[in-house]
């Protein structure tokens, strides 16, 4: 501090760069709030999201039922909490089951090379030849309305990115002098991966996970919205939107709730990006 005030031209002690920008903090708060809602909401509300009280359909919000009742007299807040939990859980599970094998296979391909690398790369190219949503759509056609084709399709579409990024970066890193030195000193693959590769790879993996998470949430709600994803009465965000669309005039808060939840989730993921990526 004091060195700065002495001479304004030559900054010796640059102020430490803030770890997180304002947008990133906002993204963290948003995602944290939605995550807590998805985690504890169903338990806090404590109402069965499938329980119908037909005489209370489209009832306005009240203190006991903050979002009122939907077109079939089901508690909207309970359905929203379960829908948020479903979306986030699917996204988290499919991102993890894409990231872990994708990263490991990428490392393996870069380390071993040869026919193994070529086979894996060819498989990755085949998956990337189609836009991801088309692949998920084709898999949902096997057993329409199921959870498994969504999960398998999204993970299958996502792992390729991890594989390609990790393989490309690791090939460069493995050929670099400091890794060569570590190898000559006799360090094994686990040590080299942990000390030399992972620190370089983690920021990129984090970016991929953000995009993958958003893609998974988006794919699930989009397919639910057009009717080929999960089916009613599942409390899924996209399904809720299309079910409540006819009532937007009488009860705009009902369709507003899942729309806002989806929008804020995606916005949070977008804001989480480091400053230069947002701009």
């Amino acid at each position: 501090m004091s060195t700065q005030s002495l001479s304004p031209d030559i900054v010796i002690d640059a102020p430490p760069a803030r770890r997180f920008g304002r947008a990133q903090l906002a993204g963290m708060v948003l995602l944290g709030a939605i995550g807590l809602f998805a985690l504890f909401g169903p338990w806090l509300v404590g109402i069965d999201p499938a329980r119908q009280q037909l005489e209370r359909f489209l009832e306005h919000p009240s203190l006991a039922h903050p979002l009122g009742f939907d077109q079939l007299g089901r508690d909207m807040l309970a359905r929203l909490a379960h829908g948020a939990r479903l979306s986030l859980a699917l996204a988290a599970v499919s991102v993890l089951s894409a990231a872990i094998p994708g990263t490991l296979l990428g490392l393996l391909a870069a380390w071993r090379g040869g026919w193994l690398e070529r086979v894996l790369a060819a498989f990755a190219d085949a998956v990337l030849a189609l836009p991801g949503l088309l692949l998920v759509l084709l898999l949902t056609a096997f057993t329409p309305g199921g959870f498994w084709p969504l999960y398998v399709g999204i993970s299958l579409a996502l792992w390729v990115e991890y594989f390609r990024v990790v393989r490309a970066a690791s090939r460069i890193l493995l050929a670099s002098p400091h890794v060569e030195a570590a190898r000559l000193l006799g360090f094994g693959p686990t040590h080299i991966v942990r000390r030399h590769l992972l620190p370089e790879l983690l920021p990129r993996l984090f970016t991929l996970m953000r995009f993958g998470f958003a893609g998974a949430v988006l794919a699930m709600s989009a397919l639910g919205f057009v009717g080929v994803g999960l089916q009613p009465p599942t409390p899924e965000l996209g399904v809720m939107m299309i079910e409540l669309l006819p009532y937007y005039g009488e009860a705009p808060w009902l369709i507003g709730a899942p729309v806002l939840t989806l929008f804020l989730t995606l916005l949070g993921l977008l804001l989480l990006a480091p400053e230069r990526e947002v701009a």
Binding site: D125, A129, L139
Partner: protein
């Protein structure tokens, strides 16, 4: 002489990129075909009975008729042989017959291809008119009002999925203002909202790409030199700036094609636009496997073709990529 040489080099670079795209097209056909083959095998019930019922009517199906069908179509053969035959037919562009309309799939697709291509091209045109223009204007004055405004709008648009954006546009333009039709395919007005939905999503990204490129151009030595030698801002922009802004924008278009093709499926379904994406979703509803295969194949090939076009455009905008 020199000119001929450089354009020959251009074509060679483009040629190898196109060869890769051909390989990608083959992969699309292989992937879609194989998935759809296993789809037919995993449908519930006996396939021979199902086809016999389709031919002779549901009350006329006997075991004998089903067995005749089984023998005729070779349904009793091992699945590997059947898969080979499936691929063989795909190679001859024999896509089969829709199980819902009983018309050849190629005929159905020929009818739906036009609307989809028109919609995608109009969307791309809209997005290229709006996005890069605003991006260049914002990049001329980074940190200014327009820059901050487009940043905000672009973040909001990127967090809004295409099907919700379509919904918002319908609510504003069809329900509230009543100026544009909400759905259907009767006159040219009905294409505006679906195209705008796709275009705004793409423009939100291309605007920022163009803005960043413009900021970089303004900070570059060649741009400063162009201004120093006496060119006006306008001249420097037209002669030196725009080509360098165009290169990243067009290159990024390749990434956006994924968004476009995925968006076409969703947006056509929401706006009841009679195109390929709409047909794909409805084929999945009715488990019409030949139609699923045909529509997914055409969408995949369209994706490859657009990619090839973007490759070619990139090579001609940026001479460094021609080698």
């Amino acid at each position: 002489m020199e000119l001929r040489l450089s354009s020959a080099l251009a074509w060679r670079g483009v040629g190898s990129a196109l060869a890769q795209r051909l390989l990608q097209a083959a992969l699309v056909a292989l992937l879609v075909g194989t998935l759809c083959f296993f789809m037919t095998r995993m449908l519930p019930g006996d396939m021979a009975y199902r086809i016999a019922a389709g031919r002779y009517g549901y009350d006329m199906v006997t075991t004998a008729a089903a067995d005749a069908v089984r023998l005729e179509l070779g349904l009793d053969r091992p699945w590997l042989a059947a898969l080979a035959e499936w691929w063989g037919r795909l190679l001859q562009f024999d896509l089969g017959v829709s199980q819902v309309t009983a018309q050849p799939v190629t005929l159905e697709i020929a009818r739906q291809l036009g609307p989809t291509v028109n919609l995608s091209l109009l969307a791309m045109l809209f997005s290229l008119l709006v996005g890069p223009l605003l991006g260049v204007l914002a990049g001329l004055n980074p940190g200014g009002l327009l820059d901050r405004l487009t940043l905000g709008v672009s973040v909001v648009l990127r967090a809004l999925p295409s099907f919700l954006l379509g919904l918002v546009l319908v609510l504003v333009f069809s329900v509230k203002l009543g100026v544009l039709p909400a759905a259907g395919h009767d006159d040219h007005g009905s294409m505006v909202l679906p195209a705008l939905t796709l275009a705004l999503g793409m423009a939100a990204v291309s605007c920022r790409v163009a803005r960043d490129a413009m900021v970089q151009v303004r900070g570059s030595a060649y741009f400063a030199f162009a201004l120093t030698k006496g060119l006006s801002m306008r001249q420097a922009l037209l002669r030196h700036g725009l080509r360098n802004v165009a290169a990243p924008v067009v290159a990024y278009l390749g990434v956006q094609l994924v968004y476009l093709v995925e968006g076409v499926v969703l947006v056509e379904t929401i706006f009841a636009w009679p195109g390929i994406g709409h047909a794909l979703v409805h084929a999945i509803f009715s488990r019409d496997v030949p139609m699923i295969q045909g529509t997914a194949l055409v969408l995949g090939l369209m994706f490859v073709l657009f990619n090839a076009l973007v490759d070619t455009a990139c090579a001609f905008i940026d001479p460094r990529r021609r080698v």
